[in-house]
Symmetry: C2
Subunit: 264 residues, 2 copies
């Protein structure tokens, strides 16, 4: 089975978990919002969990000291399923909207048997159109419940080989050169790094990482390079530094320039 | 969930079972060939079962008193999975070729964990290209084993609503008018009939069925109508008799004529 197929089969659920695992949490804060409601034999709980980051997280677009993730817990027939959403501000997502959307589809859990999860998910997806993170959290919670009821992990139920899970990268944010070197050393156990760039000192950052490790690195500019000429120059230089690939080199609206870049 | 999607999800496995359930067996004959082989903790058994039909089965292409189906049994870890193939002569399939193809992929069961059934099936499908019935029997047997190990029916594992299973039709072969009437009466419990036509007395057959029942009927000409003009005339007449759809009106190679027909 090919990597792409594996991702297609495992889908958004794994993606959500993957994103989460990249966030180093200093402390798991007390929940800031709790909402419990019984719905036809169900207990559905939705809450925000503020994850304080070990290091301030900076990319070319913004900077943050915490992530407000949303946790969903679905309980029925003595088993609970857990799902988690990592709202992404870049796509207009946030924890309050996510909670609102999840609450807005509670009634669907009365209308469908939880075992008929194909229909249930189809209905949820039709009713939540603007917060993919909310869909994702519910999807994970439902399938987590199913797996626990069947007493088997999802990869087994889906017939997948867990040894063939695609490698995901550990991300290192923009920081002082000394901190970037330290974080690269601390990331020793992760085989693949994603380095955030898109500021004025990209070369300095990459050289700092390369001074500490030879492992494959990917580069994410988070739309930080504002002209195609700058982007092309950066990419040519990065190529020589043995970079696996480059993500979001240009602002999303600059499609023409990005095409120009791709052609080269 | 739409009917088409249900079929896509449930796939060939259900199709195979559906086909089988349409064959009324008079007696379940003794197996005519048995082949047992232990392969890395597996026991795989493949054999032909001759199913003697209650009535001689006649369609426009051919006639038969029995069906030689192939049964596969995969046994591992105290559980066995059963699969069945219904070879179709129209597609160059027969029981001996099916057995040969199944035997030719036995080694794949040594190379893959049975739980990694996505890879296993991909490999089987790549190695059996000319006998879809052999693929189907293995597919069913593997998934039957998985379901038994998870202690749940496949529809549940796949999140499907079994009440929404698409209706399949009960087929009535070409026969004397009296026998066709009798068989139509005997099929009382089946909500949907498929009537085999494609000979000279199609009208007589349909009128005989309609004299006994008002239920929805489908018509299968099994490529029996040899000219587009004849087919068009038949179809127009059948339309007035309240027929749901018509299958294989013309010989498979007459694509031009079939397109002409479809346009009308």
């Amino acid at each position: 089975m090919k990597r792409k197929d594996f991702l297609e089969v495992s889908g958004k659920s794994l993606l959500g978990l993957t994103l989460l695992s990249q966030i180093p949490a200093k402390t798991f804060a007390k929940s800031t919002k709790t909402n419990i409601q019984s719905a036809g034999g169900f207990m559905i709980e939705v809450k925000t969990k503020r994850l304080f980051l070990e290091n301030t997280w900076t990319i070319s677009r913004n900077s943050s000291d915490y992530k407000d993730n949303v946790l969903v817990k679905i309980e029925k027939d003595g088993v609970f399923g857990l799902g988690e959403a990592a709202p992404n501000v870049r796509y207009g997502e946030d924890n309050l909207k996510t909670i609102e959307r999840i609450n807005s589809v509670r009634h669907l859990f009365d209308e469908h048997d939880l075992w008929h999860f194909v229909d249930l998910k189809e209905d949820i997806f039709a009713n939540i159109t603007d917060q993919n993170c909310a869909r994702c959290a519910l999807d994970i919670a439902i399938l987590d419940w199913v797996g626990k009821k069947l007493n088997a992990p999802l990869y087994k139920i889906w017939g997948l080989d867990k040894e063939k899970t695609p490698l995901t990268s550990y991300s290192i944010g923009i920081d002082t050169i000394e901190n970037i070197k330290r974080k690269t050393r601390e990331a020793e156990k992760y085989p693949l790094l994603k380095i955030k760039v898109g500021k004025d000192n990209d070369e300095e950052i990459i050289e700092a990482v390369r001074s500490v490790t030879d492992k494959p690195i990917r580069v994410d500019a988070n739309e930080g390079w504002k002209s195609k000429e700058v982007a092309l120059e950066k990419i040519k230089w990065l190529q020589e530094m043995g970079i696996e690939f480059i993500e979001q080199p240009m602002p999303a609206h600059m499609l023409e320039e990005t095409r120009w870049l791709r052609d080269r």
